[in-house]
Chain length 146, copies 4
């Protein structure tokens, strides 16, 4: 199970000023932080700047950091489908396409492949400076908003 | 791509004194830290203690934390198969079975379903106080040890 | 979505006499047929004999045949959890470990990693003459029995 | 492991006259048959007409039929990347979005998310009369062409 959907925070400063995230999320804040915004032309865009703290012992981004960003992106892409409900991740799967280095701009874009019910299906692509780095799919199950 | 295989560190203190991990791994250390040991009876056992910093906004463990632990476990379970090579994660997939709360003992056990070549297949199960919480599969590709 | 759960048929002849399957399933019968039995010691065992008609152009078993057997096995392993409900596959994922040749005995064994609710999680392993050939995970969602 | 890449056959008659497939593939021919064509505007398009023989006991398309078509589509989408090599499926994963009924036109479109090496990553979407029915990802490993 994964993060619950609460009201997002608007970021006030830095490279991603004006973007949103869930600042109350202890793990996400320390693992990232990650950011998202809704763009009328592009839809939901998620992003963060790769820093040394996101790297593994080999000097490229840890797979767990990429999957954490994918999980964040999963809920950001599905945010409008959730309409106030909490949600839990049922499945998250990732194909690792390329390494990500410190300093690169990491972005995620995706789409809801099936919504409208209690089970929401998403697929997305994480890029680093525009190069595909992680292809992911995820399934969210809505749970009671209480 | 995911963590590279380097020499592990032996933990000197705390609940997991005597266990091993990759202390040079910046993301893993901050996301966890996580620990593993090889047990002749049980094989590889990976573990950490769930703390508030691993939780999401809903008060249970973040899916990204669980997947980061799964990625750590993937390499720990495959460690003997790697025989000094670096490895990258090709695919990591997780089914989320149950929520994990702060204070629980989180463990992972698994098996190499196919080894012997450059592509290593692993499956594992993460438990919280013994209850299954994440079923995962992963594929590692060995890369040059240089 | 995948097969619905109906009353199974008991096979009357051949290598798998006494085993069960869903003979009313048009695709499964033509793709397989596949068979299962419940064994008190082993739990659910699924099996079929690899024949030339299951092979691809390269002379080994088609990945789609292996995934169809995995989907059959998914529902066989979960059969007792379904207690009369219909079910649909939500996700099916497979890691291909080894080739299967005509003449080999193909078996699948697995476990329900999370049951008790409307979403059932399963993992399993397909073997050919005892050698692991496909590691799979699947998620079933129960639907109304009406 | 999955189908090997050989020279495709051009279909001479029926709804898909002029399309291609691998007619020497025993399982694929019986499970489908399935068809593909390369379109300069759309890229690779795969298709078949859902018939009663593709259905399960519940009266909708068997998940194994959908995964077999996904495996076929995986290789069709990657066909140009294979440049004469044989390939094996390493992983195939599917999210089941909607049921497919007899009579519907089933199509698959997708993209190579990472190519250029020996490991080829693909993602695709299967639709039925234009409605998303299966979201899939697959990984192919090239093997020696001799």
């Amino acid at each position: 199970m994964s993060e619950a959907i609460l009201a997002p925070t608007i970021v006030s400063e830095g490279e991603f000023a004006g973007w949103k995230n869930w600042a109350h999320d202890a793990f996400e804040t320390r693992a990232g932080p990650f950011f998202y915004r809704h763009d009328d032309a592009e839809g939901t865009v998620c992003a963060f700047r790769a820093e040394p703290r996101h790297m593994n012992g080999g000097g490229f981004m840890h797979g767990g950091c990429m999957m954490t960003f994918a999980d964040f992106s999963l809920f950001s892409i599905a945010h409008r489908e959730m309409d106030g409900h909490w949600g839990v991740t049922v499945n998250l799967s990732g194909d690792f396409l390329a390494a990500i280095r410190a300093g690169q701009l990491v972005e995620a874009r995706g789409e809801v492949t099936r919504g409208g019910g209690k089970t929401i299906f998403v697929r997305g692509l994480v890029t680093a400076d525009g190069t595909p780095a992680l292809s992911f799919t995820g399934i969210i199950r809505k749970v009671s908003s209480r």
